[in-house]
């Protein structure tokens, strides 16, 4: 049993979460009762798993008593099973007969992590989770042994949220690995993980993590409540539950932060947020999350503070560019020719000569083409991926212009917009801009700049009305909090950045206790 598992389980037991198997299996008409008779149990198990090829139920003898080992051969390491379980009883079979299941465990499997299964439900649950369940004839409960996990993916570099300087580890699909990645960084007994199981059909483990000395209780309770309310058939990724726990789902903006970077998740934990880890998903969620979270990369904190501050401003700018640039083009070229400088206007007009479409259609066409290319580029097998960029660059970039279908300026605008939209460190946020961009183009086509402004105002009103777990989405800007500004648009140096964001109402508002601005040692013979 690894350290992480140990802590994980300890917490779980301490919290006394209701055992999941009961509720899960109740509706599936599986009887709960565990019989003393081995044969009865064995029979019902075999009934349950009758068509499954990887289910085995091997008879063994433990001393005098008949027993059998049941397991899913694909869910555990067969070699370890043979070494630890199947081999052991034979060697020690001559000695005195153990009376009850505890003694059996003591005698034969003293070194293996275990659990007892008092009910039939639990037996099934343990088998599903990769335990080897030993049922002994005449005993009231079964012994479940954790043999050791099956293969899982190694920890690799993050593939979607890369940085230049900073830790290069990423979460994997395995929840225990993920928790250990976090524990490795935060060695704090108050770091707590609570687990529960979601998904009527999948029974996925999910863990709520928080630091109990920092995180606000109300937020935590809100998260617990919402998680409890979820009734989903299947949870295959954290994205599935994201949609179920947001405050408002009719919005293009992500209200839950997701990342595959353990360091980023740790910094969220330390700010006082609650994280959600879903087994099977390398993307860990952090709530409550606000608008500005999506403009912050964990690398911001690993570089000297001036550069990240500058880059953050660039990110906000490129967000705006990605949002409005195409619509500005439409508005200026079809409504407000007078707002462009004469030379610019003349050259834009010169390039549009002979283009057969209105500006809106032109830009819609190009944006759509780009979206299609982008989607194709993501889905395409890596080997063919190259072709997309070549075809894209040639067809869209050059041929369309040469054929007189679109103007040069427009290609520049679409390309620049596309690049700007990639600047947000979190992918799910750039999707929002993609969607809104099309609406904005439409607004610009109907009402020109007035439409663009109107839509932006509506967008801001919408943003302002959003909440993430009760926290205003634009927190620290609206409602404005001066003390939180040290880490919003600029990142102040670490010594000046000692408070946790106040919109999370952390129990411990300060990160460090005293001011510790570094200064060079006093010069000898100095005046002061």
């Amino acid at each position: 049993m690894s350290l992480s598992d140990f802590l994980f389980k300890r917490r779980k037991n301490k919290k006394g979460n209701k055992a999941p198997e009961e509720e899960i299996f109740q509706k599936d008409n599986i009887s709960k009762e565990y019989f003393k008779s081995l044969n009865k149990n064995k029979k019902s198990l075999q009934e349950l798993f009758k068509d499954t090829f990887d289910f085995s139920c091997d008879d063994i003898k433990l001393g005098e008593s008949k027993a059998c080992v049941c397991y899913l051969g694909t869910m555990l390491n067969i070699n370890s099973l043979t070494d630890k379980v199947l081999n052991v009883p034979r060697e020690t079979s001559e000695t005195k007969n153990p009376k009850n299941i505890e003694e059996i465990r003591d005698r034969y499997f003293p070194t293996i992590a275990f659990e007892y299964a008092e009910t039939f439900h639990k037996v099934v649950w343990h088998i599903l989770n990769g335990f080897a369940v030993i049922m002994v004839d005449g005993q009231g409960k079964a012994l479940s042994l954790e043999i050791g996990n099956i293969e899982k993916r190694a920890i690799t570099e993050p593939s979607t949220q890369t940085i230049i300087r900073g830790p290069k580890e990423a979460f994997t699909e395995d929840i225990n690995t993920n928790i250990s990645l976090i524990r490795k960084r935060i060695k704090n007994p108050y770091l707590t993980f609570e687990s529960s199981y979601i998904g009527g059909d999948t029974k996925t483990t999910i863990a709520i993590g928080y630091i109990s000395t920092i995180t606000n209780e109300d937020i935590l309770n809100e998260v617990r409540e919402r998680i409890e309310k979820i009734e989903l058939g299947a949870v295959l990724d954290s994205g599935n539950i994201e949609e179920m726990i947001v405050d408002k789902s009719f919005t293009p903006f992500p209200l839950v932060f997701n990342t595959e970077r353990p360091d980023s998740i740790c910094s969220h934990l330390l700010e006082g947020k609650v994280i959600l880890i879903v087994d099977g998903s390398p993307f860990v969620l952090a709530v409550p999350s606000i608008f500005t979270d999506f403009f912050q990369s964990s690398e911001d904190y690993y570089q000297p503070f001036l550069m990240p501050s500058f880059i953050r401003i660039i990110r906000y700018m490129s967000f705006m560019i990605a949002l409005v640039l195409p619509s500005l083009y439409v508005a200026l070229s079809t409504f407000h020719q007078e707002l462009m400088p004469t030379q610019l206007l003349v050259s834009v007009q010169a390039q549009r000569e002979g283009v057969p479409f209105p500006a809106v259609i032109e830009i819609f066409m190009m944006e759509l083409t780009f979206e299609i290319m982008r989607e194709a580029g993501v889905r395409m097998p890596r080997a063919v991926g190259q072709t997309v960029s070549i075809v894209g660059a040639l067809v869209i970039g050059q041929a369309a212009v040469e054929a007189g279908l679109v103007s040069n300026v427009l290609v520049i605008i679409v390309a620049f917009t596309a690049i700007a939209s990639f600047v947000s460190p979190i992918y799910s946020f750039s999707i929002a801009t993609r969607l809104l961009r099309f609406v904005l183009i439409l607004c610009a086509a109907v009402f020109g700049l007035y439409g663009v402004l109107l839509f932006l105002i509506v967008m801001v009103i919408h943003l302002v009305s959003l909440r993430s777990f009760g926290v205003p989405y634009l927190a620290s800007v609206a409602p404005f909090k001066l003390s939180d500004q040290d880490d919003v648009f600029l990142r102040l140096p670490a010594w000046a950045n000692q408070r946790r964001p106040s919109y999370l109402f952390p129990k411990a508002p300060n990160k460090e206790k005293r001011k510790q601005r570094p200064s060079p040692p006093p010069v000898k013979g100095g005046e002061k």
């Binding site: 700049l449 105002i457 409602p479």
Partner: protein, 376 residues
């Protein structure tokens, strides 16, 4: 911390933001004190001081019964039926002024940007945005203000700098100071400048009770009024210095005309849009404040939550915006002749002055058992 659906609270900063944008909103479209020619800024300065006085008077009234808005105060002082009757008059007044303010903006857009677009479209779309915001509540309104205030503020300041560096400003235009004495200035201050934009702050008597730190409201409002007064003076000086008194007399939208002269680096020119943006947000704030105040009045009178009335009333206002006057000249003339004397003065000054003594008397009498009485 827990999520509350209908929490209607404003912070002091949000109040200040709303007050500020409210003040400079209309002023940015039509300008103030143009009649006083080069002395307009003096007129504005004096009226700002008076405006601060008016605001403190309003807040003094509010402090007599904390948590009560204008309409509730009137019910307290005039009794239930008369109070509601006068409240209804206020509702009409607020909606009418909202229509007028919106009309200002519609005229600006249809004159400058959209010559062929029907004016109805502008008023409907604007009112749609406003209704959406007000439907989401006062809190959202306050926060929206917070988002836009930096832009409104910096753009206003930048317009001044840009015109200055474009070499379009001539401070000689501000001379001679008070050539014809203080008389004409006083005439322009009362009633026009005092009631618009300062007297209109009576609408905030509906909003201020929702501020969380009610005790500090007085100080904050007065400071905000003074600051916005300074910005208005700044804007007026830009207008006079850039356009000169002759042109200022001819132009319909002074700040816009001034900004049209901006030309920096041969590239930053034709920045009308920036002005339209400032104006647009100012107008949205202003109409929203009037609209919200009117809705709150209706809520008080009918006991129906105001959210139910947002859409119908917004429809009425967007239509009324077009009905109130046939043409621009009529609209402007009403604004100069009729409105200040027959609407602003009674509603902003006379009525509050009337019910002030009543209010003092009532709240004094019921000092002990007031909590019980007022909660009804």
């Amino acid at each position: 911390m827990k999520q509350q659906k209908l929490m209607e609270k404003l912070s002091l900063w949000q109040l200040a933001v709303l007050l500020f944008t409210f003040e400079i909103g209309s002023v940015a479209v039509v300008g103030v004190g143009n009649d006083s020619r080069q002395d307009a800024w003096i007129a504005v300065a004096i009226s700002t001081l008076l405006g601060a006085g008016i605001v403190s008077f309003y807040i003094m009234l509010l402090k007599r019964a904390p948590g009560k808005n204008l309409f509730e105060l009137m019910t307290i002082s005039f009794g239930k039926w008369l109070g509601k009757g006068i409240g209804l008059l206020y509702v009409f007044y607020f909606f009418y002024i909202a229509e007028r303010v919106l009309r200002d903006f519609c005229e600006l857009i249809t004159t400058v940007i959209f010559e062929n677009t029907p004016i109805e479209i502008i008023s409907i779309t604007m009112m749609g945005v406003i209704a959406y915001m007000i439907y989401l509540g006062l809190e959202v309104f306050g926060r929206t203000g917070e988002i836009f205030i930096p832009y409104v503020f910096t753009f206003t300041i930048l317009i001044g700098f840009a015109t200055f560096f474009s070499g379009e400003m001539d401070f000689k235009n501000l001379l001679p100071v008070m050539a014809e004495g203080i008389g004409p200035i006083i005439q322009h201050i009362f009633p026009r400048l005092l009631t618009f934009p300062y007297g209109e702050l009576i609408t905030f008597m509906v909003i201020i009770p929702y501020v969380t730190q009610f005790k500090k409201v007085g100080k904050v409002s007065v400071i905000t009024v003074l600051v916005s007064g300074m910005i208005i003076i700044y804007g007026t000086v830009i207008e006079i210095a850039t356009l000169g008194t002759e042109q200022l007399g001819r132009t319909v939208f002074p700040l816009l005309s001034a900004a049209r002269d901006i030309s920096l680096l041969e590239f930053i020119e034709r920045v009308d849009l920036v002005v339209v943006f400032i104006v647009m947000f100012g107008i949205i704030t202003k109409v929203s404040v009037f609209f919200f105040a009117g809705l709150k009045g209706l809520e008080h009178i009918t006991n129906i939550p105001y959210r139910y009335m947002v859409l119908p009333m917004a429809t009425i206002i967007s239509y009324g915006t077009i009905l109130i006057s046939d043409n621009f000249a009529e609209h402007v003339e009403e604004g100069i002749r009729f409105i200040p004397q027959y609407m602003h003065v009674p509603f902003q000054l006379i009525l509050p002055a009337l019910f002030a003594p009543l209010l003092f008397w009532r709240t004094k009498n019921q000092k002990k058992g007031s909590g019980h009485h007022e909660s009804k």
